[in-house]
């Protein structure tokens, strides 16, 4: 699986878009321009983009409370996302969802999810749907190390394995469930070993290395498309901003955070591709500037966009509108 320069440029653009989007959100919250409870994906970009580069229009992803990165990687429009975060009528979800519920079914994005672990059976069901409808599609569940202690994780993996569903379970192991270090609550070092209980492959990838994630996700997705069933892919990674914007980060050391930043996925992507002569720094800087402008424009548009009407609180509850 080799990527063309064009594909590499696109992957870089999406990773940069995630990073810039998230850094902009941290800035907006810090300056009081944006309210809300935001869980930022910055630091984990190689996972979302490395996996989603294998996905197309017939494929699905189900995400988590830390969902902006998955949405962007799957192609959801950042202007709509930004408007959603500002609670505007023009938002991806018309202002009814917010950060933890951004979804875009047209893009196969089944939603961020405020319930830890709940996206895993949703993706399993999307995989069932793909299998029954014979679309050739696959479904990916992204979730954190904390979710792998939820019953939904175990029940969904069991079901997906026994039905050989075209699913990929991607655990983004960032070492913490909220403020609690993984080793306090999880008796195994590698979550990938939990695959053994369900008779499916458990694979570990370096979540800071786009190429490692891309290669291992590719094998797993090919396997799923062939009808050979799901894989549990554990990506070791780190969330730069902690659990949420405003997290005092009292549970981790500066040294630890700096050590992970040394492994920064985007910088390493650039170093490797430039060294290999497939990318030019000038092109990457041009992408950086385009992405920065795009995100800035999204903020400006969102701030100027109309708010939802108060009456719209009553709509979209049922497909067949019903009063009570």
């Amino acid at each position: 699986m080799t990527l063309s320069t064009e594909q590499l440029m696109d992957c870089y653009r999406r990773m940069r878009r995630i990073r810039t989007f998230e850094e902009k959100l941290a800035e907006l919250v810090g300056s009081g321009r944006l309210a809300g409870f935001l869980h930022l994906y910055a630091g984990e970009e190689a996972v979302a983009v490395g996996v989603c580069e294998h996905l197309g229009g017939r494929d699905y992803v189900a995400s988590t409370h830390r969902g902006h990165g998955h949405a962007i990687a799957k192609g959801v429009d950042v202007a709509g996302m930004m408007a959603e975060l500002f609670g505007r009528a023009t938002g991806t979800c018309k202002g009814k969802g917010g950060s933890m519920h951004i979804a875009d079914l047209d893009k196969g994005m089944l939603g961020a999810n405020g319930i830890v672990g709940a996206g895993i059976p949703l993706a399993t069901g999307a995989a069932l749907s793909a299998q029954v409808r014979k679309t050739g599609g696959v479904a990916v569940a992204f979730f954190g190390d904390g979710a792998s202690n939820q019953g939904q994780f175990h029940e969904a993996l069991n079901l997906a394995a026994v039905w050989k569903l075209p699913a990929l379970f991607v655990v983004e192991n960032n070492g913490y469930g909220e403020a609690t270090p993984m080793e306090f609550v999880t008796p195994v070092r590698d979550i990938a070993v939990r695959a053994t209980s369900y008779g499916i492959p458990g694979v570990i990838a370096d979540g800071m290395d786009f190429f490692d994630v891309y290669a291992k996700a590719g094998e797993a997705i090919d396997r799923a498309r062939r009808g050979d069933g799901p894989t549990l892919l554990e990506c070791k990674t780190y969330r730069y901003f902690g659990h949420y914007v405003g997290d005092p980060l009292t549970y981790r050391t500066k040294e630890e955070a700096e050590a992970w930043r040394e492994k920064d996925a985007i910088r390493h992507f650039e170093e490797r591709t430039v060294r290999d002569g497939v990318m030019e720094p000038g092109n990457l800087r041009r992408i950086d500037a385009e992405v920065a402008a795009e995100v800035e424009a999204a903020v400006t548009a969102a701030e100027q966009a109309p708010l939802p009407s108060a009456e719209s609180v009553l709509t979209d509850v049922y497909a067949s509108e019903t009063r009570r």
Binding site: A103, L105, G125, A126, L128, Q131, R133, Q152, E155, A156
Partner: protein, 337 residues
Amino acid sequence: MSRQLPMVAAINEALHVALASDPTVIVLGEDVAGGGGRQDQGIEEAWGGIMGATKGLIKAFGAERVRDTPISEMGFLGAAVGAALTGLRPVAELMFIDFIGVSLDPLLNQAAKLRYMFGGKAKVPLTVRTSTGAGLRSAAQHSQSLYNITTSIPGLKTVIPSNPADAKGLLLAAIRDDDPVVFCEPKSLMFKKGEVPEGDYMVPLGKAALAREGGDVSLVAFGAMVDVALAAAAALAEEGVSAEVLDLRSLQPLDEAAILATLAKTGKVVVVDEAPPRCGIASDVAALCVDAGFDSLNGPVRRVTAPHTPVPFSAVLEDAYRPTAARVAETVRGMLG
């Protein structure tokens, strides 16, 4: 010559019709095939559900569309929600509504809310069939009437038939509805026969039915309590009291107009519910009568419900627990004084 079928057979017919008429319909749940689909061992079909409601489906429609699940309600209900979100029309069986205790998140936080949270850009055409109610000596964890929980969750619909004909038509309507519907099957009615029309028909969600006309008092009931109300009405008729019986059929959407219409006609309402009294359907209907029908009321709204206790096992205890026609009739006599 009308056909008499038990409710379980009417449900089975509805599932056959639904699967035959729409390739996106699938059936999944514990024992829904029950070990069928092993032609190599001479086992084409087996249990077909704990009550036999799904019998014959795997033989007719195959193992891809009729799936035995692990005993893993949260996992398979969650998957059913995901499948509904992505182009299938799943009919999941939650064997007993009591098991909602280990599987509520897919209904509470996913199925009910996805459409709203996504700004109306999703639909979740999921049906959850589940058995409800007491009467089979199944004790506290297999006899509850927890439809008040699902009714209370915005985004879900909840229906409950009182007879086989409605069971077939309501189930077909539920499966073809684009919203998540909890279809309650009163287990004490599953083997009671009634007339069932042939073919494909639907009973609309949100429409109550008059089970008996009368002018002196309105008995509002649903599910297994409709028979109880009808028996009370028959006893009262012998005393010269004319009781109307309204079968709600649908708890959400609720046919408020039908409730207020019967209230306007009689001025007196008794709500019969086999669930405990607190935060339940009987209280909800009583509140509606007082809120929106106060001027028509000619006396207090009465509720006949189970006590605020778990469902007991011993026959004498369970019979004391469930509302009876005698209690309903006695309540009416007290109101007419």
